[in-house]
């Protein structure tokens, strides 16, 4: 029995390693020919990407994806992704780009192309009940902290502060677990925590963002590695620059009721001056 499994495991290894990722064509040409572009977006990250009752995904990042499709004159297909699967979806060709609150990190640059200038930025912080009286990151040592699978800072928080991260596939699950008291805090992007708190929802009235935000990282549109310096990457790069210059991102932030981010103001000033 065992050796049989062994043989098949070896065959499987060979098979899957042979499965290439290669999608060598230029995505821009492909998208235009197909008349359709697929964007990976969040559907659990209010108000950047979330579901409305008709089942549509809406939000600030969805607006960005719509703008890109409009500029290309193609139809937009939205594909909901989570942190743990978005890069596979991109490399395997399910989507053409990621606009899903993805932080630009060196580790990830090995796998996906990051479009510059980045369109947003966030840092790491925690959402915690006021009663937990957290003051410093080191207060998390040895405590259970909820998180979301695939977030790049999970490992850092676990290693640096010896927190015990309990991570879930999606944000709602992690929030429910926090409310249920499964963990003492929820570690996530400060942008999300801020907008959750500022919505003045009574269920978060007794919660706070008590720590100093750490590890600020810009969010980038992700494309396949071959695309980043190709026509598709250049097109997106120009688009993103224009978003900053015209103040489009700042307008969207207002439209979705997001607390103004200093990053956008700084970027707007930088590109408007050019």
């Amino acid at each position: 029995m065992l050796s049989r499994f062994g043989k098949w495991a070896v065959a499987l290894v060979v098979l899957t390693l042979a499965c290439g990722h290669a999608m060598a064509d230029d995505t821009l040409a492909k998208v235009k020919a197909a008349g359709k572009i697929a964007a990976g977006v969040k559907n659990d990250y209010r108000p950047w990407g979330f579901l409305d009752p008709s089942g549509q995904i809406v939000g600030m990042e969805v607006d960005l994806a719509k703008d890109i499709a409009k500029r290309l004159g193609v139809e937009l297909q939205l594909v909901p992704v989570v942190a743990a699967n978005r890069m596979e979806f991109l490399t395997q060709g399910n989507i053409d780009m990621i606009i899903a609150t993805m932080s630009d990190t060196p580790e990830r640059r090995k796998v996906v192309g990051m479009i510059e200038p980045q369109y947003y930025a966030s840092a790491t912080n925690v959402l915690a009940p006021k009663s937990a009286h957290l003051h410093a990151w080191t207060d998390l040592t040895g405590k259970k902290v909820c998180g979301v699978q695939g977030a790049f800072y999970n490992r850092g928080v676990e290693q640096k502060y010896q927190a015990d991260i309990v991570s879930f596939a999606g944000v709602p699950d992690a929030l429910k677990a926090l409310q249920a008291g499964t963990c003492i805090a929820f570690v996530y992007d400060d942008t999300f925590i801020q907008s959750t708190l500022s919505a003045k929802d009574p269920q978060w009235a007794d919660y706070e963002m008590p720590l100093k935000s750490e590890d600020p990282q810009p969010w980038a549109i992700g494309v396949r590695l071959d695309d980043v310096n190709g026509p598709f990457g250049q097109f997106l790069s120009k688009t993103s620059e224009e978003w900053h210059r015209t103040g489009y991102l700042i307008d969207l932030e207002k439209k979705w009721g997001i607390t103004p981010s200093p990053f956008l103001v700084e970027m707007h000033n930088k590109y408007a001056a050019k």
Partner: protein
Amino acid sequence: MTIVEAFKHLNDAYGINLSIVYDPFDRERFVHGFLMTLLLSIVSMALSIVIGLVGAWLLGGRSRLLKGATTGFVEAFRNTPPLIQLLFFFFAVSPFLPGAVNSAGQVTPLIGGVGWAIISLSLYAGALNVEIFRSGLEAVPSATREAAESLGYTRLQAFRHVVFPLAFRISLSALNNNMVNLIKTTTLAYAIGVPELLYASAAIWSESLNVREMMLVMLATYLLLIAGYTGIMNRVERALRMPGTDV
């Protein structure tokens, strides 16, 4: 060159990233994941067998109310998705239960993710076990029980010493199938953040970005685990063979 260096080289030169070998953090996570899967499997197996026995006993009893309740339990758990049962317990039921207050004055649930995973898996597999043991009991000829009772055994004694051992042996192969399924079903605990094997593997591949390698390592580990279980159970079945019968 040490093994660790060899695997680092494998990554740098060939892009085959087996981080669980050279990275102590990833290795520890993987080993913990494996142990958690073992824990979930063993505890849920034991509880589900107890549930199955109690349920089958109740079904054979006299109380109509208990029979009806048992049937209702079995049908409800057999005919709904185990994943949604688990989420239902963990997210929807858990907040209604009283909690304990921790040192920070926070109300924390008495039952955590691991606890709910065990409860949910045990109830699901237990509901199936009720059916398995019931049909095992039905397969024991009533003449056998009557013979035992005519020898002066009480109903409970006849059950314990005669009917049950026979029924258990008859049920064993169906029970084993269900237990293999239970081992496979422990992967669902991933959905509520229990750090079992799948969770650990997913955490590793989404941070070390080595999906293919981890996927294969994980698959091989599950297959070995199940091969190990069936290997042991085949021996048990052979040891418990009843001469002169099919089983």
